[in-house]
């Protein structure tokens, strides 16, 4: 991105040699709407060419469309100026503190503690997420890793694309929502580890929001990426392009990926780890005469022949279609203002079977094939705005969605005398939700900010199938009715800047959640971690949590350090409880129950240091301690202390990064609520060399990962499937 920006800046600087006309823009504080005085307008050579006056105004050449604005106390912004822009808002640094914002970009020079740059964009999004401190990936093979934040995954975190609610279709969690977006059509990630963004998310769960690429009013661009990795023959071909007229912008990105089985350390091939994937993201944005805009975005994703060695089955096909229409209003400072209104719809369909497996030898469900199908369909809206009441300006968020989930499984015995069996894992399960949230910021002094967020949501979960409902009536001896609940969440964050470059923040978050559609209405769903079949429980009480997070961040020009610690306590913790009267050696059953209390505590540290402008080091580490205090048992699938250390050296047009990914042994394993195994510690070493050619328009990247061919597995790898051994990849990138 930096290279692109530099190229544009050079072009525009040259083209502005003879200044013909100028335009006046006004730079305002995003929060107070007051002028930002003495903001520096910076060109591509990092030179200040203009400064705002006491009214925040500055004159800029009409030809100069891309520049940076820097002002103390504000987040530095790169501006791509449009014809229609008269006002530019700068976001006070104080507003950014307390919430992690990760930008998925390349080549940022500044040691921005909140920006994570991918040096491996040609790899999957899964690998990138896995190296973010506080994030671990639950793995079932080489594909479709499931993110967890601070040990919380699935129902205990929000995983969205562009803020949209999307439900996975596979009851075996083969298709986390992150599997339906690709790194090359991703603009950035928003990660809220603490869950303080209650107003926007409708709850206090930790959140990963995958922001897809949008059409941009920027000059035509074309990016092509091609790569090949051995020994798994992973090959990727990707394209990104953007084109814009004065009022209309188009964007398209797509990729094709294919991989064979990978090899673990010391050469052992791991069968059923292949995958095949296609992804396409197209968008168009139209500026309207009113200076409002409307954008339409469509993502389609198709994965086929995906192996899952940790599971009994493989995915034969996974299809996602995701449509979003968004209307953006310009800022009018009106007492009641709409900012964005988004309508969206998506369908996810997922097929899997075990036709390529030897079903005669496995431990459960022997001698039968089990084709499964799952689908979800969701429609929703998300409306945001600002309002003023009692001289107080605040942001508001109104979200609503309705979703239906279906899933079934055939069990076809190899014995022709055994009648085929069929089961509904989810039958016409309908989730409805509407939430209203508010976000309030109180600047008590220039260095002290308090943010308050609240959300009230109404959630309804039920099934439209009487037969299916009767199963739960019988299980719990209660009359069925859809479960309707009002849920409340709130957060308070105090941020103090003792010095301009040092922030301290304390967040407290209260959250309530109704169990998700599987916890309430799932049926006969196999859990690969503990080997039990799970039934939902529509009469679960809401799970509550209280979370505290303390963060300290220091950022100077070339050095930054961020330290976070947290303590989260769950009440009415939802987990599986064995049903002994129908369990036997072959089939063991659990039902979801509210099982007392659980705690999670830990922290993350991240340090970035830059020396002599061409040497950068980065240290990330995270740890989570999680315990079911009622059962006195560690919670399952909790990563051990783990981290990433890297050193990057730039010279001329070359870039070399050496990194070490490490994790200590995990000996805290769940024995009562699950049946985990201990995991050994490991450290692997990687090397990446990047060479820029033809003024940066062509890049060649050579990467070696797990150089010493270490055999290891992550604790969050189900069935302890080992990670890839030594592998090498060559990637070529071209951009125009």
């Amino acid at each position: 991105m930096k290279t692109i920006i530099n190229l544009f800046l050079v072009i525009f600087c040259l083209s502005t040699a003879s200044i013909a006309q100028k335009r006046t823009i006004t730079v305002l504080d995003k929060m107070s709407k007051e002028p930002v005085i003495n903001a520096h307008i910076i060109d591509g050579d990092e030179k200040v060419f203009a400064v705002t006056d006491v009214e925040g105004k500055v004159e800029i050449s009409l030809e100069r469309e891309i520049f940076k604005i820097h002002s103390l106390g504000y987040i530095e912004s790169i501006i791509v100026l449009k014809e229609t822009d008269d006002i530019i808002y700068l976001i006070p640094t104080i507003l950014q503190a307390g919430q992690s914002v990760m930008v998925y970009a390349y080549g940022e020079k500044k040691a921005n503690i909140k920006d994570y740059q991918s040096t491996q964009s040609h790899h999957t999004l899964d690998h990138f997420l896995d190296n973010i401190d506080g994030v671990a990936m639950i793995q079932r093979g080489a594909f479709g890793w499931e993110p967890s934040i601070r040990g919380q995954s699935d129902q205990r975190m929000n995983l969205n694309i562009d803020g949209m609610q999307i439900f996975k279709a596979c009851v075996d969690k083969m298709d986390p929502i992150s599997s339906y977006i690709e790194s090359n059509n991703l603009s950035k990630l928003q990660i809220d580890k603490s869950g303080s963004s209650v107003a926007e998310n409708g709850n206090g769960n930790s959140t990963i929001n995958l922001i897809s690429k949008k059409p941009d009013f920027a000059p035509f661009s074309l990016h092509l990426t091609s790569g090949l990795r051995v020994p798994d023959q992973y090959r990727v071909l990707a394209l990104n392009s953007n084109y814009a007229t004065e009022t209309t912008a188009f964007q398209v990105s797509g990729s094709i990926k294919k991989a064979d089985d990978f090899s673990a350390g010391r050469g052992s091939v791991i069968p059923n780890t292949q995958f095949n994937k296609m992804n396409l993201n197209v968008g168009v944005k139209q500026l309207l005469p009113s200076k409002n805009s409307v954008e339409v975005n469509f993502i389609t994703d198709k994965a086929t022949d995906v192996g899952y060695p940790a599971l009994l089955m493989d995915a034969t096909k996974a299809l996602a279609n995701i449509l979003r229409v968004q209307y953006n209003w310009r800022d009018t400072k009106a007492p009641f203002q709409l900012t964005t209104a988004m309508l969206y719809g998506n369908t996810i369909r997922h097929w899997m079977d075990d036709d390529s497996r030897d079903v005669t030898q496995r431990e459960v469900m022997r001698n039968m094939h089990m084709p499964m199908y799952g689908s979800t369909g969701t429609i929703g809206s998300k409306i945001t705005g600002e309002a003023t009441a009692l001289n107080h300006r605040f942001e508001w968020f109104l979200n609503g969605f309705m979703s239906e989930a279906n899933g079934d499984m055939w069990m076809i015995s190899l014995d022709p005398n055994v009648e085929d069996m069929y089961i509904y894992n989810m039958d016409e399960i309908v989730t409805k939700n509407v939430s209203l949230g508010g976000r309030h910021s109180f600047l008590l002094s220039p260095s002290f900010l308090v943010k308050i967020e609240e959300s009230a949501s109404f959630t309804s979960l039920g099934t439209n199938s009487d037969n299916y409902a009767s199963m739960f009536e019988s299980l719990y001896n209660k009359a069925y009715a859809p479960r309707n609940r009002m849920l409340f969440s709130g957060s308070a964050t105090a941020i103090w800047f003792p010095k301009d470059n040092w922030s301290l923040s304390l967040s407290s978050i209260y959250s309530e959640r109704l169990g998700n559609h599987i916890e309430l209405f799932g049926h006969y769903i196999y859990n690969y971690v503990d080997g039990y079949f799970y039934d939902g429980n529509p009469w679960l009480k809401s799970e509550k949590s209280v979370n505290f997070e303390l963060n300290s961040t220091v950022e100077v020009e070339n050095h930054s350090l961020s330290l976070s610690v947290f303590h989260k306590q769950y009440f009415d913790y939802i987990s599986g409880k064995e049903v002994s009267d129908i369990s036997n050696n072959d089939f063991q059953f659990k039902q979801y129950q509210n099982l007392g209390e659980a705690i999670m505590l830990g922290g993350e540290v991240r340090a970035i240091n830059r020396f002599w402008d061409n040497l950068k080091t980065e240290v990330r580490a995270s740890y989570t301690y999680a315990q079911n205090t009622t059962l006195n048992d560690p919670l399952p699938m909790i990563p051990p202390l783990k981290g990433l250390n890297s050193i990057t050296y730039n010279f001329d047009t070359n870039n070399i990064t050496a990194s070490m990914e490490w994790a200590v042994a995990q000996t805290r394993i769940s024995k009562k609520s699950s049946t985990e195994s201990k995991t050994d510690g490991h450290a692997i070493f990687n090397l990446v060399y990047t060479k820029s050619l033809f003024d940066g328009s062509l890049s060649a990247i050579v990467e070696f990962k797990n150089i010493f061919d270490t055999y290891y597995s992550e604790h969050t790898s189900i069935a302890s499937i080992p990670e890839a051994g030594r592998n090498g990849m060559l990637t070529l990138k071209y951009h125009y």
Partner: protein, 268 residues
């Protein structure tokens, strides 16, 4: 999404239905009956029609009797029946309930017979009947019925050789989900007398045999006596396929040998 569309469709249809019914009236309480004709006999100018909820088979069968003369329905005042299996060298009856009027002012008389064996080479079934009309006429006769074999009936003997008939009354077509379970128990006093047994303990265990020696049960409620040989409970079938349910009677502290019902559970 399927049910969202379905709900919209249902709403539209419900609206049309309500609009239509606002202009029409319902004059029958027979509309919920869907009967299968079994046999017809003509005696002294009266036509005796026998229908049932489905084709007759071993186990309990609900029979619907009606009487016509010259194409017009004739009201029945009372009726008695006696099922009879003619095996050539011997005859025997079967457990039954005497027919009674099916709902008020309905032309049907409804009774129940537990056929204990199928028709075939072993013998044939007839039902002897006596009908008294409201105007005092008596029609006597018999009607042949063909009984198919089914999984819903079995029998067991106690240590003294006394026979017990166990009929799986409900569900006749088990489906995934919770099913109300009804079991009928009768005993054999003589070739012509099969009284209900209402003081037994009925122990059941449903099981899904998934092959290869694997299988599992599901949650259920053990049947309890409701009188007249009827025992009610429930079974919650977690999946479709072939299920078995073992049934064991405990009568006067005597635990009888286990019998097994094997049947297919449908998905919906």
């Amino acid at each position: 999404m399927k049910s969202i569309l379905k709900q919209s469709h249902i709403l539209v249809m419900a609206g049309l239905f309500l609009a239509f019914n606002a202009c029409s009236t319902s004059n029958s309480n027979e509309e919920d009956l869907s009967l299968t004709p079994i046999n017809t006999v003509v005696i002294d100018g009266y036509t005796v029609k026998l229908s049932a909820l489905d084709k007759l088979e071993t186990g309990d069968n609900y029979l619907f009797w009606e009487l016509e003369k010259e194409g017009k329905s004739i009201d029945i005042e009372t009726m008695t029946v006696m099922p009879m299996m003619d095996m050539g060298t011997m005859k025997h009856a079967a457990p039954f309930k005497t027919p009674k009027r099916y709902k008020e002012r309905n032309r049907y008389f409804e009774g129940m017979i537990v056929f204990s064996m199928p028709s075939g080479d072993m013998g044939s079934w007839t039902i002897n009947f006596t009908i008294t009309t409201k105007d005092g006429q008596t029609i006597e006769g018999s009607i042949e019925v063909n009984i198919a074999s089914s999984w819903r009936f079995t029998s067991v003997k106690d240590k003294d050789g006394k026979g017990y008939f166990i009929t799986w009354a409900k569900p006749s077509v088990p489906k995934m989900g919770n099913n109300n379970l009804a079991i009928l128990v009768h005993t054999k006093e003589s070739m012509m007398s099969f009284p209900a047994v209402s003081d037994a303990e009925v122990i059941i265990y449903p099981f899904m045999d998934m092959g290869s020696g694997e299988g599992h049960s599901t949650n259920f409620t053990a049947p309890v006596s409701k009188g007249n040989g009827l025992y009610e409970g429930s079974i919650n079938y977690s999946m479709s396929g072939t299920w078995t349910t073992s049934v064991q009677l405990v009568v006067a502290n005597d635990t009888l040998p286990e019998v097994i019902f094997e049947y297919s559970v449908k998905a919906k």
